[in-house]
Symmetry: C2
Subunit: 690 residues, 2 copies
């Protein structure tokens, strides 16, 4: 458990169920609280301002944020967002994650094997069309299928008409549906990455803490047609960065909040969902740790995976600590009770919305029976085995009309799927084999010998024996094999006798059955009920709230501000002085060691320049790499973390007064480091013009 | 409230009532746990080692520690221990507290007006004599008087025979009595003091926190017969200071623990004693704050008093937080229950010891009736009025035989009393007047118009009117007046018509009556019962425990060691880098500003040198200024504070594993600062020989 005091300050607003206090909210661009910001900060947000910020904001891969920072496609994000690509560009001989990388000229930039960038170029409310597709008298499952079919139709029509990547996204638990049109970049090249040790200085110990001293930045460049993309809409560099007290904005792609869930749903996550997730991630982390111990090269190969899991685990523990805190849970109960009281006061609302809470509760009451099987019945612990499952599923779905497929296989999504399945990123068979063996061992322990998934996977063999044979013969790690499978379509996949495909084929009926059960008995019920509850909230409070985060574009805002902790003050910024103090205090023992460039280059730096800093914006995982910008839309820094106080904010907003803060690298420190330590003159000139 | 998590780790030892775990204990030099230290640290503490350390350890004034660090009387302590003297040596024109002081030659050293040093040269167990003086059949009060008389006799005989300052001290709540023979120095001169802003960098915010960056050191020199004292027994300077993991010792004069109190006593302190103390100190602090706002000179005159009170208040709040923590209190209850169970198992013990607990409880049940009057019925808020009270009391006591006087007026104590009453330290009448006026206002509010003390003091006038008249005419601030009064003896004091003496004379009967009530109904009972309980502890556990601290010499030990806080590591040391970072992060706004010497001198320092550090020794207030020494008895640093985790240790030992740490200035940082910033070459040479 992350042992950290959390004092709840129950604002009148929050207690009244309005849920808005301090600098709260992950706002969609159609519903930015302009009046509130104008009132509090005397700043008018114009449409032009919003458009410019939106068009410069980039979704990086599937779980990160970034921004364009030059007219020539230069993209700015975190090292820990770009780490996966940097790792894929590395080899045993040339470890770019460890040693860093800088392309002084464009010719030296390295093309990433499978990085996709997306920019939200336009959006449209399609709630009426999606909801209108549901035929009267449909069951929840039928309604879900009808909505999904309509969404696929909308996406395909959009893609055909615009050539853009079109996605219909669900907001407010089904209260709204929006068509998002994205411009996509798939030729993305690495420009700069620091040594991981300085990006992640302090390692897992310091992760999610503050004060911090991390150079967690990376630059890529988007290309189109073999030349740098023209990114007219980009952010410029602030001359001085942000001062304490200054208003800042954080546009980006926050990942996943659960603030609108009902108490029944939260109870499930608290008592079973989160503990199961923790168990799964812990087992995977342990497997990778064992593999990493085999040698330096194994350590390198597994490092991205290990860091990702330790980050996820620490965040999950912090979130679960919040949810397990009786005072926090009481607040969620009070919020729901207040909403239900308001609903009950209006007979029409009562009739329309009140049953939804019980329906969700009833559905979630069934979930524990299947939860463990749902968590363990998959092959995704190995990326390659996960690809095999995707191929098998694709073969089942492809022959259906697009609108009837599982949503991730709808026509509008196939191009992205092809891109990922044909990635040229290196695949280390020994690592995949170790992961899959360990996972099947763990699944067998968790579910038992006679579990349908275990039986289907192992057929009586031990995981080690089975996986060894499979990996001795599979060719799936070969890009050409995967390309042929994809291009051969469903028939080719079905005809494949690759042993990894065969394994995936054996377990697929079990996975499919569990998924169907969950979609029918839980997901469709919670979507239907969630829609009702969202409508109830709109009816009671108006559209004054923001939807739960779901990896789509949002705008957050806040103040650059230190805070109180225990009896003293935590400053809003750190400097390079502190980096050298912390390294020295631990005698530079890992994870407090310095790359040689930083250790030897100390005298080149102005040590009193701002390095990391904190602000009150309501960020969460997925906001990693978000630019931190001022009123002029200039870059003051880059978001890379939150402090521990903030972690429970998956479930509710944690007030600024509790010391909840987002953590960024300061723009001044970035330029100082790039210029003085990396000699990255061309990059600095492209950013600042100087 | 100081909001800080405290996780109690109940060690098996502690739960069993043995009270010994980790690096626990403030040990008298006759009972150092040598076997335990040898077992844990493989270090043999010899008699010679103990003698050398004891004879180099110095009690500084009434509430601090220090050590001799050269053969020529050089004394090393904290700035905040020496601050009072430095303040007394300052004037409006020459503010040594603010600006610091360094005497490059002995001629420049400044003689302190009233600083007394004591060194414990020998000690002897006199428990038999003191307890033997109690006649069978005596009441608790009679027994207390008989013991006190015997103690006075022992002290006087010792003083006569040795010429030393002799004190009989009470240990283990009356379980033991020891005669301590002290060598006293009263000609003490200031050698070095830093600017207060660097000694107390971070002010009240950072006080009792860690990491820290404070240059909290001061040097004095003891003189005898007008020349530097020959201090053969002194400590030498360590070449490198302490490394992490190293065993260190902290000899010194810890002030006041209450670990052996019964649950009934602790309940009283928790529910009434501590809140009353907090009220009194808060009122005094508020009065000083109002005075300080009148101008820069008033700010200077009151600064020592204000800092002392804010330090006391923050410590008290931390202690009270611990006592109010149900888990901590439960531990105290469990400890007492375990002891009582052991006592009950032996019929002889049960008869002899068991009633003591109820007797204490019964006495403390009476205390709340008088507690408020006891806390408020005094004039000590003004030092000068306090002196008046002392004179009046002295006049009453002096005519009695020494053994029958109040203990502080026994013959053996008169020389110390004379020294303090004839101090040449400046007395600021406006400050004294402001303090006394505010205090009498506060007393009247707290006790009411008709309270005997209030009536006696004010006689119907307002505090402002009365005090104004008193201070217009008093001559007590004049040293010659006080000298004449003292030398004139009881008759001269009784004949004095000084209005401040007259005021003290009016309230003295009320104070005396309250004191007598407390001594009769509470103090003598708790001493008698405390003796029984101490004897019970010896019977049950053996003499494996240390007595509560009482400003007499103790030895503490521990390990230089960082700790865990939240999810990360707090390093065992800080460096100068961090000082400059913290100052810069707050834009050098007070209390994070730097003296010009430090701001401008940054480039002269090796910023990576250790500055402050932490260790596990069981210190408490009074250990301020204690040397931190290694096995060789060399100075590795100087103790100046504890972190917040440690504060509840007034009431019980807080395990090292909870992050409880003592905080010191590192020996390497001291030399670096003295040499590079202060040009204190002579001082550095005297310390290090280089």
């Amino acid at each position: 458990m992350i042992q950290r005091r959390l004092v709840l300050i129950l604002s009148v607003f929050a207690a009244a169920g309005l849920g808005l206090s301090a600098d709260e909210g992950m706002w969609t661009f159609d519903n930015v609280p302009r009046a509130l910001i104008k009132q509090k900060y005397a700043f008018d947000i114009t449409d032009q301002w919003l458009d410019r910020v939106r068009l410069a904001s980039v979704r990086v891969g599937n779980g990160g944020s970034g921004s364009f920072v030059s007219p020539d496609g230069l993209l700015f994000t975190n090292q820990h967002v770009g780490r996966g690509q940097v790792s894929k560009l590395s080899t045993a001989e040339k470890n770019l994650v460890r040693d860093g990388f800088y392309a002084a000229t464009r010719d030296e930039e390295l093309r990433c094997p499978d990085l996709e960038l997306n920019v939200l170029v336009s959006y449209e409310d399609v709630t009426g069309r999606v909801q209108g597709a549901v035929k009267p008298g449909s069951s929840d499952k039928e309604a879900a299928d009808q909505r999904r079919a309509e969404m696929a139709v909308i996406e395909k029509a959009c893609a055909t008409a615009t050539g853009l990547k079109c996605e219909v996204i669900t907001l407010y638990s089904g209260g709204e549906y929006w068509l998002y049109r994205n411009k996509k970049y798939t030729d993305v090249r690495l420009v700069f990455a620091p040594e991981e040790q300085i990006a992640y200085f302090g390692g897992d110990y310091d992760n999610f803490t503050y004060p911090r001293w991390n150079f967690d930045i990376t630059f890529f460049r988007a290309y189109e047609n073999g030349v740098p993309a023209k990114t007219e809409h980009h952010l410029t560099w602030s001359a001085n960065g942000a001062a304490e007290g200054e208003l800042v904005f954080v546009p980006g792609y926050p990942g996943s909040t659960a603030r609108l869930l009902t108490v029944a749903q939260l109870e499930y996550h608290r008592d079973l969902g989160n503990p199961l997730q923790k168990q799964v991630w812990t087992l995977r982390a342990e497997a990778l740790a064992r593999y990493a111990k085999l040698g330096a090269e194994q350590d390198r190969r597994s490092s991205s995976g290990r860091l990702g899991l330790s980050n996820s685990l620490k965040r999950l523990v912090g979130q679960q600590d919040g949810l397990s805190n009786p005072r926090i849970f009481k607040k969620k109960e009070d919020d729901e009770a207040a909403l239900r009281t308001r609903i009950a006061a209006n007979p029409e609302w009562q009739k329309a919305y009140a049953p939804a809470f019980d329906q969700v509760a009833a559905a979630y009451a069934e979930l524990p029976k299947y939860a463990k099987r749902l968590a363990f019945s998959n092959l995704t612990a190995s990326g390659l085995a996960g690809m095999a499952s995707t191929f098998v599923r694709l073969a089942d779905e492809w022959p259906k009309p697009s609108a009837q497929r599982l949503p991730e296989f709808a026509d509008a999504r196939l191009e992205g799927l092809r891109f990922s399945l044909q990635s040229t990123a290196p695949i280390y068979l020994d690592l995949e084999e170790a992961q899959l063996t360990a996972w099947l061992d763990d699944v067998r322990s968790a579910l038992g010998q006679d579990d349908p998934f275990v039986t289907a996977a192992l057929g009586g063999q031990t995981p080690a024996t089975l996986v060894k044979v499979v990996f001795a013969a599979t060719k799936l790690h070969d890009v050409a094999t995967r390309k042929a499978l994809y291009e051969g379509g469903a028939a080719a996949i079905k005809a494949s006798d690759d042993p990894l495909i065969a394994l995936a084929r054996r377990v697929e009926p079990v996975i499919r059955e569990l998924r169907t059960w969950q979609e029918t008995h839980v997901q469709s019920v919670e979507t239907a009920a969630g829609t009702k509850i969202a409508q109830a909230r709109f009816a009671v409070y108006g559209k004054t709230a923001y939807p739960d985060a779901n990896f789509n574009l949002r705008l957050e805002y806040g103040t650059v501000l230190g805070y109180e902790e225990d009896t003293t003050l935590v400053p809003y910024k750190t400097t390079f002085h502190g980096l050298y103090e912390r390294a020295a205090a631990f005698s530079e023992k890992p994870p407090f060691n310095l790359p040689a460039r930083w250790r030897d280059g100390k005298s080149k730096l102005d040590l009193s320049i701002p390095y990391n800093f904190v602000y009150t914006a309501d960020t969460i995982g997925g906001n990693s790499g978000s630019p931190v910008i001022n009123r002029a839309g200039e870059i003051c820094g880059i978001n890379f973390d939150s402090n521990l106080q903030k972690l429970p904010n998956r479930y509710l907003f944690i007030d600024d007064a509790e010391g909840s803060r987002a953590v960024g690298v300061h723009s001044a420190g970035i330029i100082e480091g790039l210029a003085k330590l990396y000699g990255a003159e061309a990059l600095v000139k492209e950013l600042t013009g100087k």
